[in-house]
């Protein structure tokens, strides 16, 4: 069998593969598009609620100045995070237009950006904790909460609610960074395969 003959024979067998149910595919694509839109809308909505809550704290006349400063810091953090998230997602809305090698390089750049984002996330969370502890420092001294049952239960409640979130946040970031590093290694291996 000559070279061209092999390709023709294999091509015939290859093209005899069954096709796909287009109606099913179209329904699935439509659902996925709606899910993507819904995810972004929810994220924006949740951040808008967070900004609105911090703004309420800033504008409330009965709130101490230091807590207003805390609210301003939190608002700045939420807005910065949202801008960074939208920037990171910007590339994923566009479908690939260039060749696979370019796309793999783009994927590698996105993966590196994802690692940076996770670091920013962990840093932002750490910053928020430090700012919160600094602002709340006067209430956290033992002489304050030892003689104030209401303050004591409030601190306990805050710890019970926020500690798991903080731990989960840091663990999540560490897991994501580890996963993205593995992904980056895979992308680089594929890039080498493509260049061969």
């Amino acid at each position: 069998m000559n070279v061209q003959g092999d390709w023709i024979r294999w091509g015939e067998a290859w093209q005899q593969q069954p096709s796909v149910d287009i109606d099913w595919l179209r329904r699935r694509v439509s659902r996925k598009l709606w899910r993507m839109r819904l995810t972004v809308t929810l994220e924006l909505l949740l951040n808008a609620v967070a900004v609105w809550q911090t703004w309420r704290l800033i504008a409330h006349p009965g709130v101490e100045l230091r807590w207003k400063l805390w609210a301003a810091c939190a608002m700045l953090l939420v807005l910065t995070m949202q801008i960074l998230f939208l920037q990171a997602r910007r590339g994923t809305w566009r479908a690939s237009g260039n060749d696979p090698g370019d796309l793999l390089q783009l994927t590698a750049r996105r993966t590196i950006a994802g690692i940076r984002m996770a670091r920013v996330n962990a840093g932002g969370l750490a910053l928020l904790i430090v700012v919160t502890l600094l602002v709340a420092a006067p209430e956290l001294t033992p002489e304050h909460w030892q003689h104030d049952a209401r303050l004591r239960s409030l601190i306990l409640l805050q710890c019970a609610l926020n500690l798991p979130i903080v731990v989960l946040g840091f663990v999540g970031c560490a897991w994501y960074i580890r996963r993205q590093r593995g992904r980056l290694r895979d992308v680089q291996a594929l890039l080498r395969e493509c260049e061969d």
């Binding site: 069998m1 070279v3 092999d6 390709w7 294999w10 091509g11 067998a13 290859w14 093209q15 005899q16 593969q17 069954p18 096709s19 796909v20 149910d21 287009i22 099913w24 595919l25 179209r26 699935r28 694509v29 996925k32 598009l33 809305w93 566009r94 479908a95 690939s96 237009g97 260039n98 060749d99 696979p100 090698g101 370019d102 796309l103 793999l104 994927t107 593995g182 992904r183 895979d186 992308v187 594929l190 395969e193 493509c194 260049e195 061969d196």
Partner: protein, 164 residues
């Protein structure tokens, strides 16, 4: 882009898309997911198509790009992948179908075992693309296409148990 135009495009290239998806993923459920991703990418990319390349080459390029990203961390090299329930073949009887199916699966598995660069060139060659069209679609030189196809042919023949 109108829904009707997209439907027509999917119908015209359904075979090409499912075969490219099959060259990247052996697992039926993951292959369905990949097909959805490819279709979604097409829906997003088509408004940018200006007719500078043939539509079939454009569709193949988008599918391969999506396939390449799918490979990262997702590739399964199962020797016996079950057929998706969404795949349809009404042309053949049961015995003929079984024989054809065995040949297809052997070829699919052999193609999936190729390194990414060779696999992309091979799937396009099997779809009937010329060397120039493969070079254009993959963004490589024509002589690289010839080298890749030559290397792939040897590998395919070895896996399929045929003398190269």
């Amino acid at each position: 882009m109108r829904q009707g135009e997209f439907d027509a495009l999917l119908r015209a290239h359904a075979g090409l898309l499912s075969r490219i998806a099959a060259s990247y993923e052996a697992d039926a459920a993951l292959r369905d997911d990949l097909l959805q991703d490819i279709a979604l990418a097409l829906w997003q990319a088509l408004p940018r198509w200006r007719g500078e390349a043939p539509l079939k080459a454009f569709v193949a390029r988008i599918a391969h790009n999506r396939g390449a990203t799918h490979v990262i961390g997702q590739m399964r090299r199962s020797p016996v992948g079950a057929l998706s329930e969404h795949l349809v073949d009404l042309k053949h009887g049961p015995v003929e179908y079984a024989q054809l199916e065995q040949r297809r699966r052997c070829l699919q598995d052999a193609v999936r075992q190729l390194p990414l660069g060779l696999r992309q060139a091979v799937t396009l060659a099997l779809e009937g693309f010329s060397h120039a069209e493969i070079a254009e679609t993959l963004g490589i030189r024509m002589n690289s296409v010839a080298v890749r196809l030559n290397r792939a042919k040897g590998a395919l023949a070895a896996v399929l148990g045929e003398g190269a």
